[in-house]
Each structure stands twice: as C-alpha cells, then as structure tokens.
Amino acid sequence: MSNPSIALETDLTHIFPDMIKSDERQGYEGYIVEPAQLVYFLTRLRDELGYDYLSSVTGVDYLPEGKMEVVYHLRKSTGGAPLVIKTQVARENPVVDSIVSVYPGAEFQEREAWDLLGIRFDKHPDLRRILMWEGFDGHPLRKDWREGYFEEDSKPFKSRWPDGHFKRSEQINPFGKNVDYPAGFDPETWIPEPETALYAGLDKMVRGVEETAIDTEQIIINLGLNIHPHTVYFEWRLR
C-alpha cells in the first residue's frame, strides 16, 4: 500500500532549484516549470523520480492575467497521489514544447488542447484538430470565444430567471447566420484537405511490416463506427 501523501511532502524545488517554483496561488498545488525546460524536467521526473505515467494534460485560459497554462498530472505506477506540474505562456500565440517524446500518451490530449484552446505544441508529430472540424472558427474553450447564441457568461441567465421569459436561440441567432467560418473559408467550395493530411499522416506512420511473397497493393479504407458502443459497421472507401 502506497502512501498517497509522498508526492506532496517531497519538495521538488530542492532537487530542481532553478527550473521550478511551487505554485503559491491560494488553493493551488504543485509546481510551475519554465516552458523552456519542460521536456528536460519531465524526462528527469520520469527517469529519476519514477513518475512514469502521465495521467492528464489540459490547458486553462487565464484571461484576466493574459496567460495560458498547461496542466500536467503525473503519477507513479506504484501508486500515490498525482503530481501537478504547470507551465505558463503568454495568451497571445501560446507555444509549448510537446511532451509526446517523453509520454506518448499525450498525443491526443495535446491535440485536444490545440483544438479547443489554441495552444500550439511544438514538435508534436501530428498536430491537427481532433474534435472540431476545419471549418470551425476559433478555439471554443478560450474565455473570449462566444457561441452564436451567447447570452451571458454564466447561468442562470437573467432573461429566464426569475421571471421566466426567454428567447429561443433561433431568435437570437437566425438560421443562415448561425455559423461562423474562419476567414477565407467557404464550405461550398471546400475540399477536405485535412483528409489529405490524414492520409499523409498514415503514410508517415507506416512501420515495419513484413514483406510477403504475395504481391499486394496498399489501399486506404475508412471504417465507420456507430455512436453506441461497439456496433461497428464497415464503410469501404478505396483510394
């Protein structure tokens, strides 16, 4: 049985004095690391201190401070509480080094942070949008991004409470004007380039496959998935 408090008791600032400082904000825990030394620091954490398991990567948009923060939760596979590591960059054009080379499990999570928060991860092997499509304008989890039917920052909305009046979102946001596209994007003439990127990504990722005696040809197929668990059906599209 591991001791869950170990991670909190050991003061890492003694071990890495010039790289990190502890997070002093009220109610926060963990350490803030300089963005330039992030990869080096995490490599040493993994190799020397046994934090061999990346639990989660996410970003937070601190709009009032003008900062974008990336939060990493690391764990030891032997047990214990997570260690929280943060790194802060300027909110305008935030760039952080990708940690996929240290923890490959960060790949999709970094893509998600790029997609939703617009944090660019340098040296990421395949940084594309993951949840949104390419015709989506902006990064929705940024605090200054507003949805088309935006009323207020937080519920309960004054229009509905306490009097109970409300407008339907279609009234605020009439059909035909309810979608914003990035500058220069026309959905009618759009050729799904990301698919090209996707397939190019596939070409890049080809790993050693044994040569067979049979003369085969490489093709790309798309496999579709029903939204409910497991009921996979095939849609073959040959290229």
């Binding site: 996410t58 790949e107 937080s154 085969t216 490489q218």
Partner: protein
C-alpha cells in the same frame, strides 16, 4: 477510423473522432456547479453513477467537505453496481463484434436490467441517474432496495457470471479470434497513458481504488484484477475478474452499511466553492475518469475539464492494430471499450 492496409494487413491507422462533439466543457463552464451534475451523466451514458462520483469528489475537495458514512457506502454500492453493468455489457458487445450477434448481449442485458431497476428505484432514472450531490447523495435508499441488492450480490450475480464464463471463456471461436490479438506490452500501456482494464490486462496492477484510494475504498477487502498477456482475450478475462471483485466489495458494503444521514449539512441549490483547483478522479469502469476544476469563487467553474478514459485509451489504437488483419481491428476496438459520448464530449 482511416486505416491503411496492405492486402489484409493493417500498416497504418488513425482514429477520426468528434462527430458527437458538443463542447461539454464550454457548456460546463457556463453552468453552475450543481447544474453540471446531471450533465456528467451524458458523458459515458453507460456508467452515469461513476461520472457523478468523480465530479462530486472534485467539487467536494474544493469545498472541503466529506459525505457522512451512510452516503459513502451508498456511493460505493452504486459505483460497483455501475462497474458490473458496464462490464457485462462490454463483454456482450465484444462478442457482438466477434460475430456472435446479439445472443450473448441479451444474456448480459438481463443482469443489467436488474441493476438498472435498482438505479431507477434510488434515483428515478435508469441511465441518467443524477444521484450524487456535493456532500452526500440525493436521497436515501427506498425501503426494500437494500434487500434487492443483497439478493443480487449474494444469490444471483456470481452464478450468472459463472454461467457466462461457462459459455464463453473456453469457447473455441472466442479464443481463436482474441488470443494474441491487439497486444500491448506493459511498457507501452504505461507510456500511452491507458487506464482501467486495458492497462491491467497488460500486466500493470494499477487500480486507483488501491493506488490512490478515494471515498472509503481503503476499508474493503478486494484484489486488483490483473492479467499478463495484454491481448483482447486478457481484456475480456480482466473484466470477468473485476465483476467478481466488485461483487466481493458489494457483499462487504451491504453488510456494513450503517444507518444515518445521507447528506452533509443542508442540501443546497447554489453551493459556495472557494477559489482554487482540484482534480477529482475515480477508477471508472473504463479507466481513470478525472475532473479537473478551476474555481474563482464564482457560482460557475472557471475551467471544467474531463479526463475521459475512452478518449485517452484510443491513443495506442494504431500500435495495437499494426500487423493485424482488418477484421481484428473491430475486435480490438471492442476490447478497448469506448463510449462515444465520452470520447467526443
């Protein structure tokens, strides 16, 4: 998924997702804390009780409150029942993907229905339970529910799992199709941040209920299910083992559950959450389900992030599939056990 094949062998594969995306996290930031509770049900709609649990833990950590004893026991009972629900359906659906179309799943759903009846009795809803509250649960168990649960865990479930195993575990077709398919080594499983049954089937005995106990899990006597081959068959076996361990926990919990209040303080519509950050996580049926919350002291969270196991467990999908046949991809995906409500959020 887009897969590149050479003949029938996979040489490259990319999962493509987001078709069910609704920006759960942005809506979660607009909502007040309590409004998010029913919203977490919609993540992984098979295990809403576990989702509630993780979110309640995160907010309770910020608020600095702890639920009373009886509520803790009720939470454990519900979370473990959810695990059984999820695992029996996963096993059923896996067989679906293997071509045993809808017969095993109906056997599995029989047990699931009995448990969903209990969920309906306690929360009013079969799947969208919305049962947990900050500092407790929404309401006490109705009269007779505990007897029903006792009946299930002492009399029925273990026998039914035996029956399921009798039909499946040594089934020749199942073993041929799943042994040695989609192998993930322990090093890879850890490096790629997989959690839950996928990680434990690869020989890493990591279970949050043991590794970093939350709630009252440190009181129960159970084993961490672990298997060592890392293939689809072992992921199936790990789930069977976990159902048995869940039954063990349930047997202890229904025996020890005390009388008493089920809510710390008065139930509140608008909770006061001090500024700070917190990361609440549970060992959900699919893996580590985490909620990262940043509060500024306002009635709604500044940041609400869901660490979704279905999403992150997909990261090594390509690794598992390379060198396998096209037909095996379906089985491998089935063995990871994803729910798209949680993957796409």
């Amino acid at each position: 998924m887009a897969a590149k094949v050479d003949g029938e062998t996979i040489v490259g594969l990319k999962p493509v997702m987001g078709y069910l995306h609704r920006n759960h996290e942005k809506i979660g930031e607009r909502n007040t804390y309590l409004l998010n509770m029913p919203f977490t049900d919609r993540l992984d709609y098979f295990c809403s009780m576990s989702n509630n649990f993780g979110y309640a833990l995160a907010v309770e950590k910020l608020m600095g409150i702890k639920p009373p004893e009886r509520a803790e026991y009720i939470r454990v009972i519900m979370a473990e029942l959810t695990r059984i629900v999820n695992h029996v359906s996963t096993i059923g659906f896996l067989l679906n993907d293997l071509g045993a179309y809808f017969t095993p799943i109906l056997y599995a759903f029989e047990e699931r229905e009995l448990i969903l009846d209990i969920f309906e009795a306690v929360s009013g809803s079969r799947m969208m339970c919305n049962y947990f509250r900050f500092g407790g649960v929404a309401r006490d168990l109705p009269a007779g529910t505990l007897d029903k649960i006792r009946d299930l865990v002492f009399e029925r479930l273990s026998r039914k799992i035996d029956e399921l195993e009798l039909y499946l575990t040594n089934n020749e077709i199942l073993r041929h199709r799943s042994e040695g398919v989609g192998v993930l080594t322990p090093e890879q499983a850890l490096a790629y941040s997989t959690t839950g049954p996928v990680l434990r089937a690869s020989g890493v005995p990591y279970d949050l209920r043991r590794a970093d106990p939350y709630g009252i899990y440190d009181r129960f006597d159970f084993d961490v299910a672990v298997r060592y081959h890392g293939d689809v068959y072992d992921r199936y076996l790990v789930r069977i083992d976990e159902i048995r361990q869940s039954i063990r926990i349930l047997q202890q919990a229904v025996k020890d559950i005390p009388e008493g209040p089920i809510q710390e303080g008065k139930p509140q519509y608008q909770v006061r959450v001090p500024a700070g950050e917190s990361y609440g996580r549970v060992e959900g049926p699919k893996g580590e389900l985490g909620f990262y919350i940043v509060s500024t002291g306002k009635p709604n969270p500044w940041r609400y992030h869901v660490r979704a196991p279905s999403f992150i467990n997909l990261t090594p999908l390509e690794l598992m599939c390379i060198g396998q046949k096209v037909a095996d991809v379906v089985v491998i995906l089935g063995s990871i056990d994803i729910v798209l409500g949680e993957t796409d959020r």
